[in-house]
């Protein structure tokens, strides 16, 4: 375990005056894991979106007949995916893909693609 003296030194250190940074430090010291859970959470939608962008284009910006999903309204994305999943919306293969995704994944994918610049706009 860490010695109390070190903790005091950290609290007094100018670089850790902000509570968030202190939490970050303690987490690294105690667990050796990510101090910034929020960052990992943010990255998850982005990471999972990699499963979509091979077909729908980088960040969801597509050329040709495959629809672009960049900048798609979140509600619409979630509604469409639910419809692909339950078969009320037919497609060549999206039904087969959508059945592999759970609600949490669809929610994060929807957030991610809604935040992407649409086709024709400068990439973020």
């Amino acid at each position: 375990m860490m010695k109390p003296g070190i903790v005091n030194a950290l609290i007094l250190s100018p670089v850790v005056r902000r509570p968030a940074a202190l939490t970050a430090l303690l987490c690294v010291l105690l667990c050796g894991l990510s101090p910034e859970g929020a960052f990992a959470q943010d990255a998850q939608g982005r990471n999972w979106a990699g499963a979509c962008t091979g077909c729908h284009g980088s960040e969801g910006r597509s050329s040709g007949v495959i629809p672009s999903i960049a900048a798609m309204d979140k509600e619409r994305f979630v509604r469409l995916m639910a419809a692909f999943r339950d078969g009320t919306q037919s497609a060549t293969l999206m039904n087969q893909i959508a059945r592999g995704l759970n609600d949490a994944q669809i929610d994060k994918l929807a957030d991610y693609f809604a935040s992407r610049a649409p086709v024709g706009e400068q990439e973020k």
Partner: protein, 425 residues
């Protein structure tokens, strides 16, 4: 860089200094960056990893080692054999990656020193890395085909299994062949790159023959017991579209080749062809073997599917066809592109001292042209199984086309444009 991220990087830098005294492991910044990544191989896996490392973490220095000046896509390259497309339709430069700050080095990697973490190139350059990504594709193995051990024999009996000059050579041979001739394609035992590829190739050549050399035949000599992907759809396509043109023979393993007479010597008989296309057995690309990354069957590289880090060599990641695949994970360009993104995300977290994503999600989509326009697909979704510690297909997801159709022909072309952009753009 978003606010959380900026805050975190700042916090981590401070942590690195403070924890050094406490004996804790910390991320190690190098040369003013979060780390140096060297990527060997600019195909679907390596180029994707290089691109996404820079896109998602501009504080990482990325060098891509690729001997070829241009990328030529294997997916969709069977269309060149039908004359529908030219190689130029499948070819792109690497300038998109350079615009993203990837340093391109057009050399061959000849050695990896995993202790000093240095890659040596054939011009003598030595590149240090914090993390190495090896995406070498497959090496075509002629050890058990004595007649084709001499590389010049493959100018007569092409493989055309790496898109480029070999594809053009096979096309030329088909054009030069007289009507009434036989083109034989030999298929190695699975696993090999692109499971449906040989059967799509049979369709493409048969399509060309039907329109230009209608008395000619395509003979598929398969070392496997049956078609390895989209089986029913290919059988239907052959029966309905190419009756009397495509003949399929299962359990016909290739033993040797007589190059002069273009004869395939099989387990039970010999077949003389006018055009002979031998797709040889394969294993992970050579640098993977030299670097000690091959751990399965003397052929493939086992990895941790959360990071694609080699199980044998720390700080070295392996992508694409070279990987010892998880259950029902095909060796495909699409899958390599998926590996590239999961690996890039994991390396970014590791270089910043974070835990990588624990629930990766990947898909595979594979289109095969059965004519110049009509296409069949197979698709799958894969998630991480914590108990089995591997990627597994998600139950109830994935599937095939109901039948070959033109709508998916247009989709397959759009897929090509989009994935090439996702790899190189």
């Amino acid at each position: 860089m978003n606010r959380n991220r900026r805050q975190f990087v700042r916090a981590l830098s401070a942590t690195a200094l403070l924890t050094a005294a406490a004996g804790c492991v910390s991320a190690r910044p190098s040369s003013g960056t979060a780390g140096r990544v060297v990527v060997i191989g600019g195909g679907f896996g390596g180029a994707t990893a290089a691109r996404y490392l820079r896109m998602w973490s501009p504080d990482i220095a990325v060098t891509l080692i690729e001997p070829n000046m241009q990328f030529v896509s294997c997916p969709l390259s069977n269309r060149v054999l039908a004359g529908t497309w030219q190689l130029a339709d499948l070819t792109s430069g690497y300038n998109g990656l350079e615009r993203r700050g990837v340093r391109l080095v057009h050399q061959m990697a000849i050695d990896v020193d995993p202790v000093r973490q240095v890659v040596t190139l054939n011009d003598g350059q030595r590149l240090e890395y914090d993390r190495l990504v090896v995406s070498p594709g497959v090496e075509l193995v002629y050890d058990d085909i004595p007649g084709l051990r001499d590389p010049s024999s493959r100018d007569i009996i092409p493989h055309a299994w790496k898109a480029g000059p070999q594809t053009a050579l096979l096309r030329r041979q088909l054009e030069d062949m007289a009507d009434g001739g036989v083109c034989a394609i030999t298929v190695p035992r699975s696993p090999y790159r692109c499971p449906p590829g040989p059967y799509e190739r049979a369709c493409q050549i048969a399509h060309y023959f039907r329109n230009h050399k209608p008395r000619s035949k395509v003979l598929v000599l398969d070392a496997n017991e049956d078609i390895q992907s989209k089986k029913a759809l290919f059988h239907t396509a052959w029966e309905q579209r190419y009756p009397g043109i495509i003949e399929y023979r299962a359990n016909n393993g290739l033993v040797d080749v007589d190059v002069a007479t273009r004869t395939a010597m099989l387990d039970f008989d010999d077949v003389k062809a006018d055009v002979l296309n031998v797709v040889p057995p394969q294993r992970a690309g050579r640098i993977a073997r030299d670097a000690g990354l091959i751990t399965a069957n003397g052929k493939w590289c086992e990895v941790d599917f959360l990071t694609y880090e080699s199980v044998a060599v720390p700080n070295v990641h392996v992508l694409g066809d070279a990987v010892m695949a998880a259950p029902r994970m095909p060796k495909s360009g699409h899958m390599a592109n998926q590996h590239g993104k999961v690996c890039a995300a994991a390396i970014i977290e590791l270089l910043h001292g974070n835990q990588p994503e624990q629930s990766p999600l990947i898909t595979n989509t594979c289109y095969s042209f059965v004519s110049d326009r009509d296409v069949i697909h197979v698709a799958s979704v894969h998630g991480y199984d914590r108990e089995l510690r591997t990627m597994v297909p998600i139950e109830g997801a994935g599937g095939l086309s109901e039948a070959a159709n033109e709508a998916e022909g247009a989709i397959a072309e759009a897929w090509g444009t989009n994935i090439w952009n996702d790899v190189l753009g």
